[in-house]
Amino acid sequence: MQTWTDIDMVNAILQHDERLMERCYTDCHRYFTQHAGAIFVDEASAHDIFQDAIIHLWREIETRRIEVFEGRVCRWADGQLIPMRSSIMTFLMAVAKRKNWEQVRQQQRWQLTDNDRVLETLDNNRYDSAPEDATETEVRERVVTDAVLAMTERCREILTLFYYEHRSLDEILALRPENSTKTGLKTSKYKCMQRLRERVHQRFKQLNISL
């Protein structure tokens, strides 16, 4: 079997080569399964976290926060491109662990408060840092990527079904038995979108990005 380096992995994702991306996904999944151990509660949630972590990694690469520079895999941190000290797989595991921790924290919060109090997770210890040479458009996209990734699964599902798959509220209601009424679903959708907007606008303000 051909050797598969971190550089190959980054290039495969950048090229959007589906065959290579599938291979990358399979390899990452194998590594994740071998090393996840007893960190995650159950297999289903572990798989969800793995997929979130993979999307995070891929978006980092696609938005060039991780890139190959002078033959090394580098990452933007504190406004400069620094060679990564860990491998891509170690980075993936770190993201997965962080996601798991956020999920546990959210669940604890859900038990204490209203179900809709979400999206307050990435304030501290954020992954992102905007590269100095990144254009405003790039930074804007990164902020949105992070905000969408930080959404709860419930919100992501509702918004994706509505805005991406163009499903009607009745159809979403049939797909999601958790929402009992159409009005409730409409309110949830509105709140999810509103929070997402607030989060994005707040971050833009922090980074002095114009709307």
């Binding site: 992501r156 997402l196 907007r197 994005v200």
Partner: protein, 106 residues
């Protein structure tokens, strides 16, 4: 198909940021779909790998059951014992005949 992005335009202000949000939602949903496809393909491959193993096990099990069935049937027939007796008989006769002719000679 209706475009939900415009359907609720009045109640939800759509601005430039919303467009980036919709695009990002789409981008992440697309990646999730791909991952589902790959997971499904992996499951199918695993099933295909297991198929010959399962069929081999089934064949061995079938042979074993057939063996047990035959073993259960064997005592009822008694054919083997009868055949053995038929084969052994001439030998015994020969021995007796030899003994008889020996005694005559004496």
């Amino acid at each position: 198909m209706t475009d939900n992005r415009n359907l609720y335009a009045d109640e939800e202000r759509i601005d430039a940021v919303d467009h980036i949000i919709f695009r990002e939602l789409g981008e992440q949903a697309r990646l999730r779909q791909k991952m589902q496809e790959w997971d499904e393909r992996k499951r199918q491959q695993r099933r295909m790998r297991l198929l010959p193993v399962v069929s081999n096990i089934a064949s061995v099990a079938a042979l074993f059951v057939m063996g047990l069935f035959l073993q259960a049937m064997l005592p009822d027939t008694n054919v083997a014992t009868e055949i053995r007796h038929t084969i052994e008989l001439p030998n015994d006769t020969t021995t007796t005949q030899a003994t008889d002719s020996q005694s005559i000679a004496e």
